[in-house]
Amino acid sequence: MKLLNKLTNRFIAWSLLVMVLTGTLIYFILSVVINRQMDERLAENLSSVEQQLARAPETVFFDPVAHVEKTHAAGEKISFSDTLIYNESEQEYEDYRQISAVKNIDGEFYRIVLRKSKIESEDFLVTLAIVTIFGMIMLWLILLLITRKLAKSLWQPFFTNLEQIKSFSVTTQKALDFKSTGIFEFDELNEATNKLTRQIISDFQNQKQFSEDVSHELQTPLAIISSRLESLLGNPELKDYTESLNSIYGSVRRLSKLNKAMILLSKIENNQFASDEYTSFKKIVKEKLDEFSELISLKELQLESELANDLMVSISPSLAEILINNLLSNSINHTAKGGKIIIELGEQKMLFCNTGTQEITESHKLFNRFHKDDPSSQSVGLGLAIVKKICDLHQLKIRYFFDKNLHYFEISTSSSNP
């Protein structure tokens, strides 16, 4: 639930409660006040009636407003009470306030009961209640509107900054740049987030720097181990150890290759190949086909290429070369002898197909680092990961699919960027 809605809901619930409570309170207070006023009037009327009775004992009073009768009860007492009296004309019971007193007037005891209809005051109360409730509802609605409007504009900087946080990626290495909101809490949150992301970026950088340094530092010892091994392998006195030496050599070569590929990957990630020139894929594909032509014929592969169109991409030529090289060598490596390779260039896409017997299982992992479809393969499993990385950094989409005994690798430019 959105904060604003939650807030509004709470607001509505509480203000309803407060309204009901204050409404009842007002009603009761007002009725007490009104009763008191009526009682005062009744008391005044009582003294008028007393005076009237003193002057003319036979005065006629009208029920139910005033009722006077002689009584034997001695002692004066006055009491107020509410009562219901049936109204013939309206045919209903009506509320009355009454004062009842026994008075000694010229030696005679009179019971005097004076009544006052409460209908008027009740009407008054109801009107008052309606007006109050209406006023309160209006006030409440206006308040609600204002808070919602205000909240929206107050939260605006929060949402702007939230968008920034959402688009934050540690690989872009761009620290967040929050606008000052002028609201203490938000500014504090921004500051904390800024600190956090800066920390993340710097940790990530350190980590990356570390793995890069490791890769670089590994290069020389690896080169020395492998060149020493090469000379040992060529030494006829060590014939008995050839097998072990060769297996060590194989492992060291693999390690070197892996290391080299990792250095390349981190270089691509670091954007060290940044380029704003457009590179013709057609030219590179042709060069690579020429370079690989002997391999293709050695493997007796059929090559079909459709290179009438050219794909121009804003990419450094060396990266484009690595991209096409890896895709082409991937195709050559994974096509059985006598198979077929198809290369198609379009203005917005490039297609590499090669014959195969079945779809690659777990094709979603195909571009992962160190993923190998055939675990026994000697390949380091970084070729397609490098391809993916290059594509990602140049707004190229790469897709694998299998159709009619053909593996397809399709690279396409995003539609927004022709």
Binding site: S226, S227, E230, S256, L298, S318, S329, N333, S379, G383
Partner: protein, 225 residues
């Protein structure tokens, strides 16, 4: 032939030096920019192997200084950074070749020989091994005087073999020499096998001897022994 090796990593420096000394070159070494700059100014070398990242300066600066003196020293850049920019800058400055760490020493050897051929003999020299004669500039091969048609890779292979004669060449180093280290040829040593077989057949068919010895499971050796 005198070679200066400029490299700041002592292990690698030693390794290269030992290797080239065995190839009967006279080798001198420099481990820093100043050291190298001095030596290049004072002495004459046939080939200088120059690392780009050096303490005290850039190898590219060394090349510039060297070129200003108008010497005929051949220059091979050794770099840990295989960035295209460095490569282009280096070659623009007048370097003859560019090799990326880590490399096979046999590869370095072949490159040094190629530079020496181009520099010292204006490319007119031929590479001869008994009855086989290669003209690297024209890409032609003669056996006992009759010309032999080889594919591009077969020619490169033969030149690589003769440059590193009597030395065991592992399949890995051959693969890297022929296709660079981009292609993942781990599973594809049979390509090399096929190339070598074709080369062997062509040489023998034209009356050459079979100098290519297979070292089972490891590589090949070009030898008359």
């Amino acid at each position: 032939m005198k070679i200066l090796i400029v490299e700041d990593e002592p292990d690698l420096l030693n390794e290269i030096k030992n290797f080239l000394v065995k190839e009967s070159y006279v080798c001198e070494t420099a481990a820093s920019f100043i050291d190298a700059d001095e030596k290049l100014a004072v002495y004459h070398y046939d080939v200088a192997l120059i690392d780009i990242t050096l303490p005290g300066g850039s190898g590219l600066q060394l090349i510039e200084n060297l070129k200003r003196r108008n010497t005929d020293t051949g220059i091979i850049i050794i770099s840990a950074r295989d960035s295209l920019d460095d490569k282009l800058t280096g070659l623009d400055l007048g370097a003859d070749d560019y090799i990326t760490k880590p490399f096979h020493l046999s590869e370095l050897n072949a490159r040094v020989k190629a530079v020496l051929r181009r520099r010292k003999f204006e490319g007119a020299t031929s590479v001869v091994f008994h009855e086989i004669e290669l003209l690297p500039d024209q890409g032609t091969v003669h056996i006992n005087g009759t010309s032999l048609i080889l594919t591009k890779k077969e020619f490169e292979l033969l030149l690589f073999f003769i440059s590193n004669k009597n030395r065991l060449l592992t399949r890995e180093s051959i693969a890297e020499h022929l296709w660079g280290d981009n292609i993942d040829l781990a599973d594809n040593f049979d390509f090399i096998y096929t190339h070598i077989n074709n080369l062997r057949k062509k040489i023998m068919k034209n009356g050459g001897k079979d100098y290519i010895k297979t070292v089972y499971g490891i590589g090949y050796k070009f030898t008359d022994a």
